[in-house]
Symmetry: C2
Subunit: 331 residues, 2 copies
């Protein structure tokens, strides 16, 4: 990665505003929504579920967007590619990501679906259950991709969630091709078990041939290799050419790279308020540390610090000074 | 107040979504915005200020709306009259107030100004500085007023902020006339020193002849009688026919009624995060306790409990279970 490039990290992902309400576990059970899951919903279900939810707070979200916001807070030069609509929530998303110091210039969609939103139910255990209406996110396509931006990035970071709708998937494939040709590293997050289950073949192919760095939690990597045994999944990942980072919630993370395995402990959190964005901020922190030249175990430690901050409050965007937190703990 | 009426409290006020960001005091100083004030801004200044603000969180607000949400959380049957536009922020406001159990049926404006918003800068001391773009709020008029709803309320609660634009002011005057004829009590909040300075004659007339219960902080009641001496203002208020409640931040509140003065101490707050809504929740708590038949000093104590909750987090809508907090402290 050359620091002479314009972006340390350029992310492609869903451009979403989170709508967060606090509910009892019974709220989910009555609707048959699995606790802790992420699922895609259509406009009608979004209306119906929103109508049932309690008073909300709106905070910009989107997995890869959260990651680059975290990375920017840690000093990385970042950009984001994703599609909002020309509406008020699109203005909110655009304002917030730019205010966080992330370059964001993808043109908003007009006349089509509204800006995507994620209806997030937070239960008293701090666990989030995400119900995502993709809206305009699905309309991102290869025409939105500025190849020069991709070629001018140290890392291209892609969100597995965005692999689901076909047009953005094609745009990500184009971006990967540009990145490979330009010497831009490609990083990818598996995002969710439902993404892995829906695109296992694609994801395995990405890891074997196109991706330099992959993020996933224990369930996602087990799902990738259809095994209940984390050791089996780790052995498969160790055989792949890429660096793998497995997040393990409060237990920290494991980095598998070049035949070595590094275990990094998690950070203590006084009170888990809302787990939304934990994985996103881990990835953002990890990559920001990587472009700053830290060794892999320290990258994972920075990821854990960023994740611990974001789960201590509502919303998936950092509130505290991440640089100061990292300096206090790692120097 | 008869409990056979449909509403314990029917409020008229601004229908606003708050956009809250955390900034250093320098952010305000550079723009010449007085720390802790509330001021009205136009669409251009709203765009320019929003562009300069950091990442935000959107939480429904509006002074009287916050009050009835608090009162509803304490068990009061409440309604709200105010104008949003038919846009996404209007949907957010409508969802949140209904989800809080408040009846809200005012038709949204179409084709005119967007839903009002308050750009709130919170500084590290927890103080909020409010920059309000009224938008569609100004379009509330007497045609939106359902006289039967006013006549079917125990208390009509009016927001001084809404006295500024002419059409809503006329609607409030109509509502007061209906209330007087129907035996509905009229409660009023002075809202802010700028409101008092702009409408001192009207406000004094309201207190002398049309209002049963008035809320104001020390600065507002001093401004009302153009005195620096709180004792002078209190003497004037004691001579008025209405019950007056003066809020005093961490020092609690003073109730002046029927020639008696009741002082009530404030609640201790571990950490003041965002003072937005303190006065609103005080008034909501006070009125909810009043309709439940509590004596005046207890009404003020309930108000202090509700205010203490709302300043312990971002946003002017309660997050904790207010009923449980009151039960734990007052029984």
């Amino acid at each position: 990665m050359s620091s002479s490039r314009r972006f340390d990290i350029l992310a492609m992902g869903n451009a979403i505003v989170d709508v967060i309400s606090s509910e009892t576990p019974d709220f989910l059970a009555r609707r048959g929504i699995p606790h802790g899951c992420m699922r895609l919903i259509d406009a009608d279900e979004a209306d119906s579920l929103y109508g049932a939810m309690g008073p909300g707070r709106e905070i910009s979200g989107g997995s890869a967007a959260n990651s680059v916001v975290g990375a920017a807070a840690l000093g990385a030069r970042t950009g984001f590619v994703g599609r909002v609509a020309a509406d008020q929530l699109g203005q909110v998303f655009t304002h917030d990501i730019r205010a966080a110091g992330v370059d964001f210039t993808t043109a908003p969609a007009t006349g089509g679906r509204p800006t995507g939103r994620c209806l997030i139910v937070v239960t008293p255990d701090g666990e989030r259950t995400m119900n995502t209406y993709l809206g305009a996110c699905q309309e991102l396509d290869s025409g939105d991709l500025d190849a020069a931006m991709v070629a001018d990035a140290g890392i291209l970071y892609l969100e597995g969630y965005l692999w689901d709708p076909p047009a953005p998937r094609a745009a990500m494939r184009s971006a990967i091709a540009v990145a490979r040709a330009a010497g831009t590293k490609v990083a990818f997050t598996l995002s969710d078990v439902f993404c892995v289950d829906g695109h296992r073949g694609d994801f395995r192919e990405l890891l074997d041939a196109h991706v330099d760095l992959v993020f996933g939690n224990e369930n996602e990597v087990k799902a990738l290799y259809q095994t209940d045994d984390l050791g089996v999944a780790m052995a498969r990942l160790a055989a792949a050419a890429c660096t793998t980072v497995i997040t393990r919630s409060e237990k920290g993370a494991v980095v598998i790279a070049g035949g070595a395995i590094h275990e990094v402990p998690g950070q203590t959190v006084a009170r888990v308020v809302d787990t939304t964005g934990a994985g996103d901020l881990f990835a953002g922190g990890f990559m920001a540390a990587m472009v700053a030249g830290r060794p892999l175990p320290e990258c994972a430690a920075v990821g854990c610090i960023a994740a611990a901050e974001v789960i201590s409050h509502f919303g998936a965007r950092p509130e505290a000074d991440l640089k100061a937190l990292v300096a206090a703990r790692l120097g």
